[in-house]
């Protein structure tokens, strides 16, 4: 009877070996989990930067064309832009700010983009004489230059990942024209 009992159960060595195997299998899993937590934290910061960048650029684009001058706004020094438009006042806060313990720095660069419009012009008298024959409307292409009617808005948000000393940045760019609203 004693012999039979001994052979039916698992030996201590067997159980120890099985546990050691399982423990060794868990090591890479824990490693992957650690990496994924770091990646999630990184992604979280990136998403926050993207949202911040979008929010600020949207706000900047709401300002009337002449309200934001050409140049650099924000960056390492905090700056608040204000506009008292007919629709109401708008504020845009630029520079360093801390969100959930992470410091983000936003900077808006506004530059003028000179534009050359290619305009096909026609002769109104020729058109009046032959309204159904567009080929005879006296077409000619004109190139007309403009400055200070089209601005480029580049908004950059910089931050640092946990344990990293290099700056990360996210940039969004758009243009705004001096149009009658």
């Amino acid at each position: 009877m004693k012999n039979i009992n001994r052979s039916t159960g698992m030996t201590l060595t067997e159980v120890m070996l099985a546990m050691a195997l399982l423990a060794s299998a868990f090591i890479p899993i824990i490693g992957v989990m650690g990496t994924s937590i770091k990646a999630t934290d990184k992604d979280d910061r990136t998403i926050k930067a993207v949202n911040l960048c979008q929010e600020k650029l949207n706000r900047a684009l709401q300002f009337p064309f002449t309200s934001i001058s050409v140049g650099t706004h924000g960056g390492t020094t905090a700056k608040t832009l204000n506009s008292n438009a007919a629709a109401g006042s708008i504020n845009l806060v630029l520079g360093p700010e801390t969100i959930d313990g992470v410091q983000f720095t936003s900077q808006l660069d506004v530059s003028d983009v000179p534009v050359t419009f290619q305009v096909p012009t026609y002769d109104p008298f020729a058109k009046g004489e032959q309204p159904n024959t567009p080929a005879n409307w006296g077409w000619s292409n004109q190139n007309i230059n403009f400055t200070n009617v089209y601005h480029k808005y580049v908004l950059t948000v910089t931050w640092q990942d946990k344990g990293s000393k290099t700056n990360k940045f996210y940039t969004l760019a758009s243009h705004k024209a001096k149009i009658r609203r």
Partner: protein
């Protein structure tokens, strides 16, 4: 007795199988997280394209506001079988093509973006006797995997024709 002795090492075998399954899960999870990153980047880049395309519709609207009579003449000529002037005013005008725009790069993705006006047209509603200017612009880039990522922005502005006194 024979059956009992056969059961020896079952725990070890089970542990081995379980360990292999766990390892496979870890490998699958790791490859999944690696694959999700390009997706995140792609979503971010679509936002950039949207802003740039929208910026070009601003320029198109400005041109229309500056030269409405010329645009209407081009539109009328296109309706009468001469579309080249309208193309020259809109999609073929050099100011409506921006190639290799790199100023909206990010630290995790730097790609040159091409922006182009797609169309400018007058939409009419005969019932309500109203007109609207339809402007469509697109922005696109080729990502690091060779995929073409594109986004279009559309702008609709109601028009009111007035005689200059």
């Amino acid at each position: 007795m024979k059956n009992n002795s056969n059961r020896r090492g079952v725990a070890l075998l089970l542990a081995l199988v379980f360990a292999v399954v766990l390892l496979q899960m870890a490998i699958a999870y790791s490859s999944m997280t690696r694959g999700s990153k390009p997706q995140t980047v792609q979503i971010d880049e679509r936002i950039k394209l949207d802003y740039l395309a929208h910026g070009l519709t601003e320029l198109a609207l400005l041109k229309f506001q500056l030269y409405p009579a010329d645009f209407y003449a081009c539109w009328e000529a296109a309706k009468k079988g001469q579309p080249q002037h309208l193309r020259s005013f809109t999609i073929n005008a050099p100011e409506f093509t921006i190639n290799n725009f790199t100023e909206s790069n990010s630290s995790f993705n730097a790609v040159p973006i091409n922006i182009q006006l797609a169309s400018m047209a007058i939409l009419t509603n005969d019932k309500w006797k109203t007109e609207a200017l339809f402007i469509q612009a697109g922005a696109a880039y080729t990502d690091q995997y060779g995929r073409n990522i594109a986004k279009e922005a559309v702008r609709l502005v109601s028009l009111e024709r007035k005689l200059n006194k």
